[in-house]
């Protein structure tokens, strides 16, 4: 039988994994909405986002309770601190993904442009990364987390390149400014998602090794 403390930790882990599952769906919805108009999908995404917000608050409360009642130390302390951070990062990813979905309407008809700048491909990268994050988090796999950390940095770099390409295009052709602005914001959003995922990977490494990759 698990102790009170172990039960709370398991609950925390399940909630974070649930959030990651919801983000997985949300990112997929963003990909879909860039291709086809679908009102039901927007509705579903809003509900999803709502669930993410609620889980984030639940995780905050759960962590508060564990801190107050169990006074965790060492790996337990790092796990709880990281889960708290990860919950916030995932919640942000949910917000940003919703922003992509709401912007997709403006760019959907320019499928050639979307293809040219590989927007869907960039988004798919984040979906792949999200699945790897679930695996790394649930198994405390710091090596996988380090790989994720590096691949996120690469994706951010690619996003920045695409961003600059679009800006270049805008300076040449004033008639593309409207669509390009939306594209820029979508690419920036993908870059932000990747940055939040990088932070999550960093937090997973912190659980296992007690040190941060970022800013060190």
């Amino acid at each position: 039988m698990q102790s009170f403390f172990e039960t709370e930790l398991t609950k925390l882990k399940k909630r974070i994994l649930k959030m990651l599952d919801l983000v997985d769906i949300q990112l997929d919805q963003a990909g879909q909405s860039l291709l086809n108009p679908d009102f039901e999908l927007v509705d579903a995404a809003l509900k999803n986002e709502n669930q993410l917000d609620k889980l984030d608050i639940k995780i905050d409360k759960l962590c508060q309770r564990i801190f107050a009642l169990a006074q965790p130390v060492a790996t337990d302390l790092r796990f709880i601190m990281s889960s708290l951070r990860i919950g916030n990062e995932i919640e942000r990813i949910g917000d940003i993904t919703l922003d992509i979905i709401s912007r997709s309407e403006n760019v959907r008809s320019y499928s050639d442009v979307l293809k040219e700048y590989k927007i869907n491909k960039l988004l798919k990268e984040t979906i792949k990364t999200n699945k790897r994050i679930s695996e790394a988090y649930s198994n405390n796999n710091n090596l996988l987390a380090k790989e994720i950390f590096d691949s996120c940095k690469q994706l951010e770099e690619t996003c920045n390149q695409v961003f600059n390409e679009i800006i270049g295009e805008m300076t040449k052709k004033s008639q593309v400014i409207t669509i390009a602005t939306d594209l820029i914001l979508i690419v920036r959003n993908i870059e932000r998602i990747s940055n939040h995922m990088e932070n999550i990977a960093d937090s997973i490494v912190f659980v296992v090794e007690g040190k941060r990759l970022k800013h060190s």
Partner: protein, 255 residues
């Protein structure tokens, strides 16, 4: 290891036996001056035995035998010409159960200085007041110094014992579970006191209360089965200990 002169207490390869039983196995440790060092570990791990070797309290046990070096201010306290009474004056001790003498509050604190030759009343008054103030109990007892110390609460009695220890002007204070018999309010008073006293004294505390070790100490040493498993800054021990045994113990997953 640094030169023994740099540490207040310098222990090298200390092994302790009770008859045939080895209670401590080749402990080496340095304890810095004017810091709080906590010893933690499960019952029977040797932490109290180790604490008691630092003022030779174990000498009172017939079967006790120590090997190795224990230096305080560079002097080996187990060498033959050591005056144990003087040593215990320099290295005071507070026990789990408060043990005031069945005398007045004043006499409890004046007792040490008096047997050390201070007879002058004015001088004694000053020492008593200073010690009770340092032990954070002066305000509570200043109007009834002639009452019996036994009439005080457990938490107050423990602070009287601390004042009694301070009155002989020690360098080091050993505390063996000083707050384990006290309620949370008295415990927090003792913990605050420890925090204040470290400005003037080197404090070594044995505790089973993990949070107490975390709250009060600068350094923590984890003992297990007579061995020193790990010693580091308290903040490191409680956030990222190096040894798995330490981690298992402090997170309550031992055995």
């Amino acid at each position: 290891m640094k030169d023994p002169k740099d540490s207040k207490v310098f222990v090298k390869d200390l092994s302790v036996y009770y008859g045939q039983n080895m209670a401590l196995n080749s402990i080496s440790m340095e304890i810095p001056e004017k810091k709080v060092t906590a010893f933690i570990g499960p019952s029977g791990c040797g932490k109290s035995t180790f604490l008691r070797t630092l003022n030779r309290m174990n000498d009172l046990i017939d079967s006790f035998r120590a090997e190795g070096e224990v230096k305080i201010d560079g002097i080996n306290i187990y060498q033959k010409n050591i005056d144990v009474v003087n040593l215990r004056k320099k290295v005071g001790m507070i026990f789990q159960k408060s043990n005031p003498f069945a005398k007045s509050i004043y006499e409890n604190v004046a007792y040490g200085p008096r047997i050390n030759g201070i007879g002058d009343k004015k001088n004694l008054d000053e020492i008593v007041e200073k010690s009770l103030k340092q032990a954070a109990i002066w305000e509570e007892v200043k109007d009834r110094l002639q009452s019996s110390a036994l009439s005080l609460s457990g938490g107050q009695q423990q602070r009287i014992c601390i004042a009694r220890t301070l009155a002989v002007n020690p360098d080091i204070i050993l505390m063996d579970e000083p707050a384990s018999a006290l309620d949370p309010i008295s415990t927090s008073k003792i913990e605050e006191l420890i925090h204040d006293l470290k400005n003037f004294y080197t404090i070594i505390i044995v505790t089973h209360n993990m949070q107490q070790a975390a709250r009060t100490s600068d350094l923590t040493a984890f003992f297990y089965l007579g061995e020193l498993i790990e010693m580091d800054k308290t903040r490191t021990i409680f956030t990222n200990p190096a040894k798995k045994q330490t981690e298992d113990y402090i997170t309550g997953r031992f055995g």
